[in-house]
């Protein structure tokens, strides 16, 4: 049977038997949305809060006390001011991109805008990771250029410790910690957004597949 015949059958199909009344429809409009857009918003905001908390608690919890001894507080403060400005800019961008999402747009544009929000958050995460790495590198350079820097920082003031040995342990520990942190975060985001946006990515590819031809 040809598709046009099926079209006739489609057109003559009976009305839905479970039709909803106006009251039932009204009740539905009052219920909560469970769309991926909502989840992207929630997860995105949680990421902002998470990174902000990491930074804030890091500076407030006495973690910086040893740095005071090394006269690095000014450097850290300036670094933090810069960081907060960037966070605010990211939040504004996140809000702007999020407000672009509307189901009234055509399908392709809607998908594009959702992916844009996701990208904003992705760049925010990258920024934070790079931030951590750069911060550590600069800090290390400053520490190594301060006489007895490592000893002051680790609280060990025994001269008998092998400085060279301490230095190696210090550097390796930091590299391992940063690498593990990046790996865990990458895996976490990959899984989180991977699952959430799997369908969207697939459909976006499918929709834009032939665009190059026409």
């Amino acid at each position: 049977m040809e598709l046009d015949n099926y079209k006739t059958i489609w057109k003559n199909q009976p009305e839905e038997k479970n039709k909803l009344s106006a009251l039932e429809i009204y009740k539905m409009t009052q219920s909560k949305s469970n769309s991926i857009v909502k989840w992207i918003l929630i997860i995105g905001l949680l990421e902002f809060v998470f990174w902000f908390a990491v930074n804030y608690l890091g500076t407030k919890n006495g973690a910086l006390d040893p740095f005071e001894k090394l006269n690095l507080i000014n450097f850290i403060d300036n670094f933090n001011y810069f960081h907060y400005v960037v966070v605010v800019l990211f939040l504004l961008l996140f809000y702007r991109n999020f407000s672009l999402i509307t189901t009234v747009d055509d399908t392709k544009k809607l998908m594009k805008n959702i992916l844009l929000v996701r990208k904003t958050v992705k760049w925010y995460v990258y920024y934070n990771l790079i931030n951590v790495v750069i911060f550590s590198v600069i800090l290390n350079i400053l520490i190594f250029n301060t006489p007895d820097g490592i000893n002051i920082l680790s609280g060990i003031e025994n001269e008998s410790f092998n400085q060279e040995h301490m230095r190696s342990v210090f550097i390796i520990t930091q590299i391992v910690v940063i690498a593990v942190m990046i790996l865990i975060l990458w895996l976490f985001y990959y899984l989180l957004y991977g699952i959430l946006l799997k369908k969207l990515n697939k459909n976006y590819k499918e929709l834009t597949k032939l665009n190059e031809i026409s």
Binding site: K7, K19, K108
Partner: protein, 164 residues
């Protein structure tokens, strides 16, 4: 103002709800998912209703928001094991025009469409609903040429599924 808006919305939506039911039926496989998607579409249409300016017919606008929700926003829930599959439920047809063959063909058509991917489903659905290519292209955000190429491929795929 708000009350009038709600009244208009309910009136428009109730009259056109068949469109949403058909979309739910092709994008989901059981009654729970059907209800979930229906609810999400209802929320999306209501949320955007104040932006509907009446430049196009309400139903045209409704096609767009409903398909966008089904293709892009909807996440299938996992609470679907206990419920009956659609394949077990035959459509209730009015007694006077009951025709077993037609019933089976309609069911075969729905089953066939469900095997297509999300974009193909939308294309075939708009074709069955007799929408012009211009409107199909505009709804999906692709060029008319692209819509035609994709439509031909989707039709071919469906034809093969229906006539193996």
């Amino acid at each position: 103002m708000q009350i009038q808006l709600e009244k208009n919305f309910l009136n428009d939506f109730e009259k056109n709800q068949n469109i949403v039911h058909k979309i739910c039926r092709i994008y989901t496989t059981n009654q729970d998912q059907h209800n979930d998607l229906f609810q999400e579409i209802t929320i999306q249409i209501w949320k955007n209703y104040s932006k509907f300016r009446g430049e196009s017919k309400f139903s045209t606008w409704m096609y767009r928001v409903s398909l966008n929700t089904a293709i892009t926003l909807y996440r299938k829930s996992n609470r679907s094991i206990k419920t009956q599959d659609f394949s077990d439920v035959s459509f209730k047809i009015k007694a006077e025009d009951y025709d077993d063959t037609k019933d089976k063909q309609l069911k075969a058509l729905y089953d066939g469409i469900r095997e297509l991917n999300d974009i193909e489903k939308a294309l075939i659905f708009l074709y069955l609903e007799d929408k012009p290519y211009k409107e199909i292209a505009k709804t999906l955000g692709i060029s008319e040429v692209n819509a035609r190429v994709k439509m031909n491929r989707s039709k071919e795929k469906l034809r093969k599924i229906l006539n193996p």
